[in-house]
């Protein structure tokens, strides 16, 4: 019957995205390399790797909740607050406890903040049954406010060299440390999404909450955990980005919210929930970072760069709409 036609259509569509994005990334790199050979220089490629790794974490944070048919608009506020708070803890604690313990405390506080923000989102979304858009919009404004308030709106300098070294400059086996951490996180996330009960339930409840409920799953717990995961991933991004800039910045995450959603969706996660794997944030992050680094090299006006990103965002969403309409 009609099953036959659906099969071939399905396999085409299944292969399509897998090829489309790597090709698009290669095309972007090749395009800029033609204009500026520096695009392919070792330094630049290392830079792309590093930047993509940093961006990858926020895209992952977004992916985890997009799978559940949610959103996390608070990832940017999360990054900013983690940046400011962990920097403040480090600068305050290092004179007392020494560099090593100070850094550990700072990082610990950062991760704890991630858990806290994620837990607050998760409580309101999963247990309060409030629209995730509104919840995270509110927590975004709350924690952006907290970040500017505790820092007074100014960057926090004098972070220990060791922090930047350990979380940004260190190179192990020719690989920059952010890339290594990204690799570990990518594997972990992939594993939990595809090989654990939790991951399976996330996809199912993203598809339909009721189905997961009728199948006897603890829907609220899993949803809550997804938001906590998102919070922690965002806070990891905050720590790594702070190590990159070398200072605690109260508006470090401002531009990340939209870009992170863009990356996840362009990479193949659907806003209707229930789909998207680890490749989505990887491809999405690479594509966006390659574009913006390429445009920087080409010295395209900084204001025009968002225009390109915005156009790509709409294009990605249009592809998503097309995909979901067909299925």
């Amino acid at each position: 019957m009609s099953d036959q036609t659906q099969v071939s259509g399905h396999s085409l569509r299944a292969i399509g995205p897998h090829l489309l994005l790597p090709l698009a990334i290669v095309a972007v790199v090749a395009f800029f390399a033609l204009l500026q050979p520096a695009m392919l220089s070792g330094d630049n490629i290392a830079n792309i790797m590093k930047q993509s790794s940093l961006f990858f974490f926020v895209a992952c944070a977004q992916l985890v909740v997009i799978i559940t048919r949610g959103f996390d608009l608070s990832v940017g506020a999360n990054v900013s607050l983690v940046s400011v708070a962990s920097s403040m803890v480090m600068t305050a604690m290092i004179p007392v406890f020494g560099t090593g313990l100070g850094i550990v405390l700072g990082v610990g506080i950062g991760l704890l903040i991630g858990v806290g923000i994620g837990a607050m989102n998760g409580l309101l979304v999963a247990y309060g049954r409030i629209n995730p858009f509104i919840v995270t919009l509110a927590t975004m404004s709350i924690f952006t406010g907290v970040a500017t308030t505790i820092s007074g709106g100014f960057p926090i300098f004098n972070l220990p060299e060791a922090f930047s070294f350990a979380f940004n400059q260190m190179i192990i086996l020719m690989l920059p440390i952010p890339l290594i951490i990204a690799g570990v996180v990518a594997y972990g996330l992939h594993f939990s999404l595809t090989k654990t009960v939790h991951g399976r339930v996330l996809y199912v409840l993203g598809d339909s909450n009721e189905v997961a409920l009728v199948a006897g799953r603890r829907v609220k717990e899993h949803l809550f955990l997804a938001y906590v995961t998102s919070g922690v991933l965002a806070s990891v991004a905050g720590l790594l980005m702070t190590a990159q800039t070398g200072s605690g910045e109260p508006n470090l995450g401002t531009s990340l919210v939209l870009n992170s959603i863009a990356a996840a969706v362009i990479g193949g996660a659907s806003l209707r929930g229930g789909s998207g794997g680890i490749l989505a944030p990887i491809y999405g992050a690479l594509l966006i970072v390659c574009l913006s680094i390429g445009m920087n090299l080409q010295q395209i006006n900084g204001s025009l760069q968002p225009v390109v990103i915005g156009a790509i965002l709409i294009f990605g969403a249009a592809l998503d709409a097309l995909r979901t309409r067909e299925r």
């Binding site: 309101l124 919840v135 025009l304």
Partner: protein
Amino acid sequence: MTAHAAIPESRTSKVLKAIGILPFVLVLTCVLLALYEPRFLRVSNLINVLRNASFLTIISAGQMLVIIVGGFDISVGAIVALTSVSSALSMVGLSSMGIESAGVIVLLGCLMGLVPALAVGIANGFLVSVLKISPFMVTIGTMTIAVGIAGYVTGGTPIYDMPELFTREIGRGKFLRLPYIVYAAALVLALLWFMQNQTRLGRYFYAVGGNEKASRLTGLNTRKYIWLAYVLSALLAGIVGLFLTARVGSGEATLGSNLMLESISVAVIGGVALKGGVGRIQMVALSAIFLAVLSNGMSLARIDSKYHIIIIGLVIVFAVAAESFRESRRNKHV
């Protein structure tokens, strides 16, 4: 089981259901504020509150229309910025072309200023209603693009040298001690009230947002109404852009950056349901006044402006939690 379908309820709960708790919270806030800080009641301060509330009402009215048809408009803030830049550039350009009459320059400048706003609205409407892309993604995209263009055109510096008529008269002029924007807001309020209560168009907006498929089966052109909502939202945002530009006296690419968040907050606090199909302009106006009073009160109390967004965030969570609580109770009855 009786044949009568309606659930019997007490008079007070009926009133509460009709108007919600917002008016009471507003009055309470005003009274507390007046007791705590008598300066709140000064005429100049009240006018100031009213002006801010008017800006918020107009932009939130557009947001409300879009949310009623089941969407979102994240681009409103960017439209304000874009309108500011385009109107300022148009006026500067027109006067350098040698047009003498300030009136003509201002009129043409304002009209040309609204062109990009309308373009964004039309694009939003097209992408959402015809291509069926998620409104969230569409308006994030157009927002990014609009902000980028505004920033690129100005190069990051404000545009001055607009006619005095515009900056002084429209920006700071008053009629019967009230700024013009208040009248504009009143007009928007009246027109939208009429539309929502007295016209087919108003009903169709609710119908499309309430159940799109059913509306289509009934024979409504659902695309048209969704599209129209985005265009109206962009137009209202453009009007706010013009007034704000006149008020600050220059075309700025960063104008209105808070308005996206604030307009959604106002709409949500005003009882506009995110699922679509619900929302009344008078409640949105009330909610705009509430938010304006709240931030005025915080300023008067010398609460650092950085805290404002924290408090607004908390108010949103509270408002939505209260709404979803009411909703779940209502569903239990059925």
